[in-house]
């Protein structure tokens, strides 16, 4: 009986199309979210990459890594510049990276506060440069300290007459001029017809306010980050771009934890194996491009020694004995961390600090 009833109900459902309508509704409801996503979801990605702070080898390396990630994940890139420049060679490297990226996708720059000197060099190849009225751009030029005239002297011995100075005065100026030509030539070439200044006017290394820069062609338009993202999306043919902000932390520039022993603990430790472990610190002021070398003691780290200091990528310092977090804002905080460890270590922490551990 049951079987026959079911069979007749099924027959009815089939005959009256109810089954098919039901199946259709279910299928449609299952597909609908995908359709909604397809219709309203992002059709591509605009990556936002910062140039923040003084340009040095480390920042240039981070920039390269950020652009590589942008290149892999995005359809267009917005560079947000807020830097007064820095090392000439590092700036040239960043220029080359920007130019290389622009070969494969639209690149639009926007200037937060200032994109001067090397930072302007780095964004020079951008398809468009957005500024605010109070932004500053320019300072297209190179500056260097004249080689000291100190050879020969009674303190240092050298194997060659230019070992101390590196250059004669005129050679130095010629080298400076060569860098200037590369910089000025690049700016003039990339700004092209948009530039209302002569090459010599650019080469005076003047700094221009944002509005003036738009007038003389050192920048293209007044606009903020959002305007730059819109422009980059338009250039990439995106209607609904998703925006992905890439930071140094995304490319290994941060997000780590290091644990190390204070120097006194290291020397006092009884471990068989003592070795130096180089690590990088994130929030310490940059001192050239050399890694900051700390002394860590693998045995002590493993044992959770009470004299250990933990430093993470947010710049927080945790001292095992005190157990509280402290910000490493500068040398003072570094000394604080040591002072909190133990009284005996206070002086030693000062010495680590002086050695540049905390910058």
């Amino acid at each position: 009986m049951m079987f026959e009833r079911t069979r007749s109900a099924l027959a009815w459902a089939v005959d009256s199309y109810v089954l098919f309508v039901l199946l259709g509704v279910l299928l449609g409801a299952a597909v609908a979210p995908v359709a909604v996503d397809t219709a309203t979801g992002p059709d591509g990605t605009v990556a936002v990459v910062p140039i923040q702070g003084t340009i040095d080898g480390e920042l240039s390396t981070e920039y390269q890594a950020m652009l590589a990630e942008a290149r892999a994940e995005a359809d267009a890139v917005v560079i947000v510049a807020n830097s007064g420049g820095g090392s000439a060679a590092a700036s040239e490297a960043m220029y080359m990276q920007t130019l290389r990226l622009r070969e494969s996708m639209p690149v639009v720059a926007t200037v937060d506060g200032v994109a001067a000197s090397g930072a302007y060099f780095a964004i020079a190849p951008a398809d468009e440069v957005y500024v605010k009225p109070s932004s500053f751009v320019g300072s297209v030029g190179v500056i260097g300290s004249l080689p000291p005239d100190v050879e020969p002297n009674d303190v240092v011995g050298t194997t060659g007459p230019r070992k101390v100075e590196g250059f004669g005065d005129r050679e130095f100026f010629a080298t400076l001029e060569t860098s200037r030509n590369a910089f000025v030539g690049s700016v003039v070439e990339h700004r092209g017809d948009r530039l209302g200044l002569t090459e010599n006017e650019v080469a005076t290394a003047r700094v221009f306010g944002g509005s003036v820069a738009v007038e003389n062609g050192m920048a293209d338009a007044i606009g903020d980050r959002r305007a730059a993202i819109r422009a980059a999306a338009d250039r990439a043919g995106l209607d609904r771009p998703s925006v992905e902000v890439i930071t140094p932390a995304d490319v290994g520039g941060g997000d780590w934890t290091a644990t190390y022993a204070l120097r006194a603990a290291y020397y006092a430790g009884g471990a068989d194996e003592k070795r130096f472990e180089p690590i990088r610190t994130a929030n310490t002021p940059r001192q050239g491009s050399f890694p900051t070398v700390l002394m860590a003691h693998p045995g002590a780290v493993a044992a959770g020694d009470a004299t250990l200091v933990t430093l993470d990528s947010r710049g927080a310092v945790e001292v095992a004995t005190a157990g509280d977090e402290r910000s490493v804002g500068g040398t003072g905080s570094g000394a604080d961390a040591g002072a909190n460890a133990t009284d005996e270590n206070a002086t030693d922490a000062g010495r680590i600090d002086a050695a540049g551990v905390f910058g």
Partner: protein, 349 residues
């Protein structure tokens, strides 16, 4: 290998059974296998690299050394004053007020070549120039006293030649107890300039078009007919004289320009492009707006050696014997004419 010949022969015998008469086929088959494997391996290496979107490599044209490298003007040659018709003997006093002695080397040597003695930084200027034929003043820190100015003016009036090398104001790093500091330094030539109706500017001249590898290393040239001696002398051969951060020299009288920049030169803090006069001659006085270019590493850059040869010719071809006032009268008018007369008067002596 040779230990078990029996096994070898057995293996031959057994395989000989199965593959008898198929050796050619087996060999071909193996060849096909190897070729196929190689093709797959190569394909595995090549196909992904074709598929992988390698970043395009821009050519960094703006970094091309052919476009960017600056070398500056060649620096060869020595200061060779000509013609050597200089009367025997004579003295040139150099008042450099303790300026770097190495700066004066090439010029002193050239003066010696012109058969004149050089007297450095005399204790008492008035008496030193009394017995001299010419006076060179290099970048004085402090102005001269009224007595000294009287003596220098009289000296020039008598036919003694005076060459002044000045500089613009510049900032110098000085070390002190409280660390390094910047101090502005000025060539104090106000009193001296006044006596000869000359004015040394305090700002520097720069030229982004014609320079020796830096905008402040300005290339200047003597205007046509510029003369420091009888005829054009060596100055006529100086086409590219490089002055290092020079200042403009002007005359409130009718001095003649001796070195003039190109039309694109500017004075610091000014946007006006114009020719700047970097050296002028007024009778027995020659004023140059730079004291650096005479240094041992600059004196022969471009045509500096030719220009300095002209300066030495000017120094040693004065006519101080003509007596007080005489030189002045002769030099007052046209330059070349006056000098010709002066030299002519001197020669028979």
């Amino acid at each position: 290998m040779n230990d078990s010949p029996g096994e070898d022969s057995e293996a031959d015998a057994s395989s000989g059974g199965a593959l008898a008469g198929r050796r050619g086929t087996v060999a071909k088959g193996l060849l096909v296998t190897v070729v196929l494997a190689a093709a797959i391996a190569v394909g595995a290496a090549v196909v992904p690299s074709l598929a992988v979107d390698s970043p395009p490599q821009p050519e960094f044209e703006t970094f091309d050394p052919d476009r960017t490298v600056t070398e500056g003007l060649p620096s060869t040659g020595t200061i060779e004053p000509e013609p050597p018709v200089v009367p025997a003997g004579g003295t040139v006093v150099i008042d450099a007020e303790g300026a770097d002695r190495s700066r004066l080397g090439p010029l002193s040597e050239a003066i010696s070549k012109a058969n004149h003695d050089v007297e450095y930084d005399p204790d008492r200027l008035e008496s030193a120039i009394d017995g001299a034929d010419a006076l060179v003043i290099v970048d004085p820190d402090t102005d001269y006293s009224e007595d000294e100015l009287d003596a220098i003016e009289a000296f020039a009036d008598e036919g003694g030649r005076v060459v002044i090398f000045g500089n613009p104001n510049r900032f110098e790093v000085t070390g002190g107890a409280l660390g390094a500091s910047l101090a502005e330094r000025e060539s104090d030539l106000r009193g001296l300039g006044e006596r000869f109706d000359l004015y040394f500017d305090t700002r520097y001249v720069y030229d982004q078009e014609r320079n020796d590898g830096n905008y402040r290393h300005v290339v200047a040239a003597p205007p046509e007919n510029a003369s420091l001696t009888d005829g054009n002398g060596s100055v006529g051969d100086a086409e590219s004289v490089v002055l290092y951060t020079p200042t403009e020299v002007r005359s409130t009288a009718d001095a003649d320009p001796v070195l003039v920049t190109g039309p694109n030169a500017r004075t610091a803090d000014s946007d006006t492009q114009r020719e700047h006069t970097l050296a002028v001659r007024d009778g027995n006085v020659l004023a140059v707006g730079d004291a650096r270019f005479i240094a041992a590493d600059r004196y022969n850059v471009g045509d500096n050696d030719e220009f300095l040869a002209g300066v030495v010719e000017f120094l040693v071809s004065g006519d101080r014997d003509a007596g007080p006032g005489g030189g002045d009268d002769e030099e007052g008018g046209s330059d070349s004419g006056g000098v010709e007369t002066a030299v002519g008067a001197r020669d028979p002596a």
